[in-house]
Symmetry: C2
Subunit: 253 residues, 2 copies
């Protein structure tokens, strides 16, 4: 593409560097990571600072993310009505399964947990909300991928190196694609010990009135607690996504 404003893209990338970094970064460090001159990075920083997207620590002279991003981030949440909509459903699912329940959506080539409800176990799993992860890596995400066109699936599966997180992980693209077909046929996925050893996820899709998958719900817990009850949890999960889909205007065929 050449329809891209390079300095805007640099600004965006500069901000995103902070996602995987300690809280403060200096000009020199940023210029290395962005592969830009120090002068250019400095101009970027002072522009972003004047708009509140970046803040400079007066003592250390280093830079951090600014409060305007906090405002914008909360605005994203309030815009996103499915988050509010899902809250009572997730609550109920947790109270019935006693495990972590999450709501997962797709954003271009990534998946994101946008809502979650922790279980009440004293020792419990939780997930990081709002962080991107690959569409093939968790059960909630794979359910989303399963309902995408095949060309898109191939694009995703080719692009990424498909790291094996655990010994049980998928190894071949063909294997994943078979699995995606199976998800679509049965309408859910139960995945054990894939990304994280000892973790089992049970996930199912939510449909809107046009029949598109808008999000997925997943119950996640330790395998030895979840697997014995897997039928029961699956039924609860399916009941939840059906209720949500119905409320969104979806009519089962």
């Amino acid at each position: 593409m050449d329809q891209v404003l390079s300095s805007v893209r640099n600004g965006c990338r500069l901000l995103k560097i902070f996602l995987d970094s300690p809280k403060e970064l200096g000009v020199t460090e940023l210029s290395k990571k962005l592969q830009l001159s120090k002068g250019a990075v400095h101009k970027l920083l002072s522009t972003l600072e004047s708009e509140g997207f970046i803040r400079q620590n007066e003592k250390t002279k280093q830079y951090t993310l600014g409060y305007t991003l906090l405002e914008l981030g909360t605005k994203v949440l309030t815009n996103h009505d499915i988050v509010d909509f899902s809250k009572p459903f997730l609550d109920q699912l947790v109270s019935r399964t006693n495990e972590l329940a999450v709501l997962c959506v797709q954003d271009s080539k990534d998946a994101i947990y946008v809502a979650k409800e922790d279980s009440l176990h004293p020792v419990r799993f939780t997930v990081e909300s709002f962080r991107r992860f690959p569409l093939y890596s968790t059960s909630a995400a794979r359910v989303l991928l399963a309902y995408q066109p095949e060309e898109f699936q191939d694009e995703i599966l080719q692009e990424h190196p498909l790291k094996s997180y655990t010994p049980h992980s998928y190894t071949s693209v063909e294997q994943i694609k078979e699995d995606l077909v199976a998800i679509r046929e049965q309408g859910y996925e139960i995945s054990s010990n894939r990304r994280n050893t000892g973790v089992t996820g049970i996930a199912a899709p939510i449909f809107d009135s046009t029949g598109h998958v808008t999000a997925s719900v997943s119950v996640i817990g330790p395998s030895d607690r979840v697997m014995p009850k897997k039928e029961e949890i699956l039924q609860e999960t399916l009941a939840t996504v059906r209720a949500m889909s119905a409320q969104l205007g979806y009519r089962m065929s």
Copy 2:
């Protein structure tokens, strides 16, 4: 200033337009608000979209804020250790006063509530976190302003039109400035019926080890409930900010 990358600034302002708008906006609308050509806005949008800062609704063709802003926003929060630090203090303050307690910080020329703890009253006040407001408008903010250099105070007070929110509001700059001196002398502020009729705020500053004011704490409630107990609430608030300041390494002189 001419040390500013204009397209980056335009991108930032484009994003901020969404803060005070419905959730979706079109190119034409944005180009009017930004006073830029439609073509330029379109380039901005597709650049921001390719970085995840903007999302386009495929049906309506309109644009919304993207999930990357959610990631960045939560990162701001996790970076900001005073938020975690304040949590137990705010909790305790609420349990002792039975009113809303907030933590307020300054960001350039604005104030922002970065943490809050609602009271347990069935009908209760609350505030919107993470939205900017003027430094002269609430007691928590005025406490922050009171400890700023006088030139800065003048800058703030001159710049804004100083709207009178209620009949009891300040009208003149001199009046506010006298008040700021008083805040600094007594170390707290009690403000009634200023911005919102019937609301009373009791606020006091937190000092760090270098003696700078890093944030302020305020207890906010309906005047008829707060004013009768104002001495008690004030003492609780002062005890809280002193404990917080001490833990940050501040030594009272």
